[in-house]
Amino acid sequence: MIRKAVAYLDSRAGAAPLLKKALRYVFPDHWSFLLGEVALYSFVILVGTGIYLTLFFDPSTAKTVYNGSYAPLQGARVSEAYKSVVDLSLERKAGLLMRQTHHWAANVFIAAIVLHLIRVFFTGAFRKPRDLIYYAGLGMLMLALLEGFLGYSLADDLLSGMGLAIAYSVAMSFPFFGANLALLVWGDPFPGDAAFWPRMYIGHVLLLPVLIGGLLALHLGLLVARHHTQFRQERETERRVVGLPTFPGYVPRTLGLASGVAGLLFLLGGLVQINPIWLWGPYEVSQGTNGAQPDWYLGWLIGGLRLMPGFDVTIGDYTLVPNAFWAGAGFPLFVFLVLLLWPWLERKATGDHAVHNLLDRPRDAPWRTAIGVGLLTWVFLVFFFGTADRLYVYFGASYTTQLWVYRVLVWVLPVAAGAVAYRVCNELRAGERVARERKRAEEEAPYIIGT
């Protein structure tokens, strides 16, 4: 059976040498290498559940009257898009399971990418010869943020409508061409032309997934071409990679992980409610809801928009740069710019142009770790300020006080955290040096005593 299949493939595609090589390809083993795989398998679930959802969704903002089974919405004037999502959720068997699993998978997908990025940054895995892989990964993260935002915007509920209004305002706020950009994308002043919804839809189900898929292929293809990185343990060197072969060692483990991710996502999708849009109601430009929070991965933007001191850059009567630009566009663009330039910056700063197959431990590169910790602290504080209104509601912490505390912390704490990280790295390294010296001394001691 196997023999026949292999013979068939070999004679038709000349595949036997490649197969043999692929089966014995070496995977270094470390728990943190799983994060990228979690993202990969979440993406597979996203595509699968997403295809299911497209079979029911109607990307139209034409108005209709809701007359389904959810009594509080009876007679409400809603869009076809909103109605089709509510109907899919409440009238179709397994529809809600698929929709919630899709939404959870998006959250897990981006969380896994971010953790993977943090791992890659702090271990120096982005260094030559893998900087292209890193750029492809960053590209996927940026596209994934946009993809997720489009996904939950399509439902046309009150919460997502508010999000789109903010996105429109951020687009408008770009210097020089903001208004032109917004009119181009929306086709008209907000809420835009009738063609805007089909545009979002084709972007969400075709353009962005294909782009992400293309970058994914590049990411994995380059990875195979350059092989995995590894930590220095015993036999690992810059020239020799040590680990499990694809088959039989790695395949059951990674399929187990894939199955585990699928299991987790379906459990979340079935048991933990997410984005119940029939509770939010349909979007109207005249309506808003308090306590609105986006999906977690846009929390840094809402936090930034709230934290920003209130000013527009103006000359007399003219507005130049509206406020929403700084936190809504400038902040994320700056963070991504730093991340994109980092491999180059590090090469310039250290003069290290060598090929690196062995990973750093965070302590091995104190400056990188310090700057990374600082950047992460900065972004995290801005992110966390997005919860200030909830902290006020739940714990009574004054919103204004929190605002001023954060406006100070957001500059002070990253510097402090970076300094602490730098110090800790050096202490750890010094400790290791002492331990090494002691060991060597103890090894030499018997000879000294002996002679």
Binding site: A94, N180, L255, V285, R306, P322
Partner: protein
């Protein structure tokens, strides 16, 4: 022993037996069988199958309470059991091996050189290389620009004037959600109303208004807005000038020491505007006051627009002019 082997060899020749001992050495490392792990895998696969069947059964049942939860539970557990079975296979049943391999060559200098030479030599017949390169780059740029030009059809890119348009002009009545005109006498203090333009589309950022009533003696409107707030009734655009969310909250002073003045609040980023002073920003990220709509009360006692907004509504953009009227 030697004798036994010899006999076996002869037998093999004679019977034409397969030559078991002369087989090549194993590629995959050896390991001992583990019957308990096999049993565990069988058990886990059985559990997965049971959950999978349960999923189909739950799906087939109609009008089951908590069907989504049961579907998710059964399908999720199916995958969890499969995952557990695969992990046992990976950890306990397949041979454990640690292989070594050389990393691929970091660079191929000879091939690099050859590629450069191929490109160089291919261009050896050109004499005016720089000019041709320039011409090719220019043409490429023109072709690319030509190809993206149709994208301009996506929207009225250059027509930013339409961002100033509003349905509000002198005389238009303010109506409520059901389309009934607002009576000035019905507007009370300490609450707020959402008003729409009569006979005009409502899904337009410029359409919704927030209407409040304050003590006329406490109003401090900017110069030039005399008579904009008859009987202390004020109307502002309901669209936040920061990020276009609806101003959906109204803070009335329930307790003077902590909330000294009434305020209109946007729930998205908490921009807070003062209705008594012409919508100026009290707090939050908004950079521009909320545009005010002058009001008038007609003979029937209905609220009407007394003119256009005091400034452009909605989020700001590069070049937006505070006093431009279209």
């Amino acid at each position: 022993m030697k004798l036994v082997r010899l006999v076996l060899a002869v037998l093999r020749l004679w019977r034409n037996w397969p030559e078991a001992e002369a087989r090549e050495p194993r590629i995959v490392a050896e390991g001992k069988p583990d019957r308990r792990a096999e049993l565990a895998v069988l058990g886990l696969l059985a559990a997965a199958s049971i959950c999978g069947v349960a999923f189909i059964a739950v799906y087939a049942l109609d009008r089951l309470p908590r069907q989504t939860q049961l579907l998710g539970l059964s399908l999720g557990l199916t995958f969890v059991f499969v995952a557990a079975a695969l992990i046992v296979v990976g950890r306990r049943l397949v041979p454990y091996e640690e292989l070594e391999e050389h990393y691929p060559e970091p660079a191929h200098p000879e091939e690099q050189e050859d590629v450069v030479r191929i490109v160089d030599e291919s261009g050896s017949r050109f004499t005016r290389k720089r000019l041709l390169k320039l011409a090719a780059a220019g043409t490429g740029g023109v072709v690319a620009t030509a190809l993206v030009t149709p994208a301009v059809s996506l929207g009225p890119v250059f027509d930013t004037d339409r961002l100033y348009r509003t349905p509000w002009h002198r005389g238009r009545r303010l109506v409520d959600e059901a389309g009934r005109p607002y009576l000035a006498a019905a507007i009370e203090t300490d609450t707020f109303y959402t008003a729409y333009p009569e006979d005009a589309p409502r899904d337009d950022l410029a359409a919704p208004l927030v209407v409040v009533r304050l003590d006329p003696g406490k109003l401090r409107l900017p110069a030039g807005r005399d008579g904009w707030a008859p009987r202390g009734i004020l109307a502002y655009s309901k669209t936040c000038t920061h990020a276009a969310c609806a101003i959906a909250l109204y803070r009335t002073p329930l307790f003077e020491p902590t909330s000294p003045r009434p305020a209109l609040v946007c729930p998205c980023h908490y921009s807070t505007f003062d209705p008594a002073t012409g919508g100026t920003v009290l707090f939050g990220p908004a950079g521009r006051p909320l545009p005010q709509l002058p009001l008038a009360i007609d003979d029937a006692g209905h609220l009407r627009a007394g003119g256009g907004f005091s400034g452009p509504i909605g989020p700001s953009w590069w070049g937006v002019r505070e006093r431009k009227r279209v």
